[in-house]
């Protein structure tokens, strides 16, 4: 047990390092900050809500830098896309925060937040899961026919629709190999920013699918580019929380100790898999987070009297982190086996490189 003097909390150090490590691996792999996993976990460890949010934001910023550097080395960042989107994101976050304040004045912000989270995450899960299954099936057929499979395959027609919008100026994103109206990118940033500002999260789990299905970037590029956004929003959030005194630096240091290693592992792991594998992990993350939020929603709606619901939500949040790490590690292990000519299950073949 370590005494975190600023937060006034005693918590086991290894649990903080472990949370940092697991969320680092997941964040580096699917391009999210992981706030929706870290904040509830920190609250369970005993940190007050505002402190959990501040510690989470500060650690996300540090972890985001590590992941971004790694993804840059892997050639997964499109700077044109990232910088164009930041403008829309900033505006969107401001609008989202104002929307949240409006609902707070109405006195229903807590329930509205949970309902919006559940609905949004479930919709994103459903679309990502169904599309990725189609892509997976197609790749399995291609493998059976002996055709070469590229690093990316996605079956959605949405990118074609959005890339066809002839609204000047048209931007050429060289790394992402996408030609699209600047306004589409700004709009994606703005809409995801509104949702992120409203829900109080970084928004990676919304932006990555948006970059893939709206802009038409490959999953690897979407992950790397989104991490640039996370560094910017994380740095701003960390600054604001530090000024407000919501950050216990010792907790941040322990979390970053794990996250620095995890973020590198997660980022490098993307080079062992094809795009659909990343989207599968993203969709699993979404459905488990949806279940966690749904349990919390039912707990709130039942007057916070059914305690096993709260316990189940905690187990699910911690379990989600472990599950995603195990799945990512398994995919890398299968990829290494496959490269060595050893047996891997049939379903794994098209997902790994």
């Amino acid at each position: 047990m370590f005494d975190f003097a600023i937060a006034g909390v005693q918590a086991p150090i290894f649990l903080l390092v472990l949370v940092g490590l697991t969320v680092g691996i997941v964040g580096g792999f699917i391009g999210v900050g992981g706030g929706y996993m870290v904040t509830p976990a920190l609250i369970v460890f005993g940190f007050p809500g505002y402190m959990a949010s501040g510690i989470d934001m500060t650690h996300i910023c540090g972890k985001g830098v590590v992941s971004t550097v790694r993804h840059r080395q892997l050639g997964n960042i499109d700077w044109t896309l990232a910088l164009t989107m930041i403008a829309g994101t900033m505006l969107g976050v401001e609008l989202g925060v104002r929307l949240l304040v409006y609902f707070k004045h109405l006195g229903i912000s807590g329930v509205v937040l949970l309902v919006t989270s559940v609905a949004l995450m479930f919709t994103l899960f459903l679309y990502t899961q169904l599309e990725t299954r189609r892509a997976h099936k197609k790749m399995e057929e291609m493998e059976k026919e002996g055709r070469e499979i590229g690093r990316e395959l996605q079956t959605s027609n949405l990118p074609k629709v959005f890339q066809g919008i002839p609204l000047a100026p048209i931007v050429r994103c060289r790394t992402a190999r996408v030609i699209v109206s600047m306004w589409v990118i700004v709009l994606v940033g703005m809409v995801t920013g509104v949702l992120a500002g409203f829900l109080g999260v970084g928004g990676g789990f919304i932006r990555v699918p948006a970059l893939v299905y709206v802009v038409g970037a490959s999953t690897h590029i979407a992950v790397g580019t989104d991490l640039v956004e996370i560094v910017v929003s994380g740095a701003y959030g960390a600054l604001r929380h530090s000024i407000e005194g919501n950050v216990d630096l010792m907790a941040v240091i322990f979390m970053i100790a794990g996250a620095m290693f995890g973020a590198q592992v997660g980022s490098i792991a993307t080079s062992y898999v094809r795009g659909p594998a990343i989207r599968y992990i993203l969709s699993y993350s979404l459905i488990l987070a949806t279940l966690g939020a749904a349990l919390r929603l039912i707990y709130v709606l039942t007057g916070q009297n059914v305690h096993w619901l709260s316990l189940a939500a905690v187990v699910l949040t911690l379990g989600e982190m472990i599950f995603l790490c195990l799945f990512i590690s398994s995919l890398v292990w299968f990829a290494v086996r496959r490269r060595g000519g050893k047996w891997v299950p049939d379903w794994v073949g098209p997902l790994v490189i």
Binding site: P12, L15, V44, F45, G46, Y284, S310, L311, V314, V315, L316, T317, L318, G319, E320, I322, F323, L326, F327, S330, P345, D346, W347
Partner: protein, 35 residues
């Protein structure tokens, strides 16, 4: 047992069971009284 490895759904269920078990263990050992 082979189904848990050869099928994606089986693998998903296997990992989820292990993860939730580990999470429940963490809650029981280190977080008892906090949740």
């Amino acid at each position: 047992m082979k189904w848990f490895i050869n099928s994606m759904l089986g693998f998903w269920i296997l990992l989820l069971a292990i993860s939730l078990g580990a999470a429940a263990l963490v809650c029981e050992i280190w977080l008892k009284g906090r949740v």
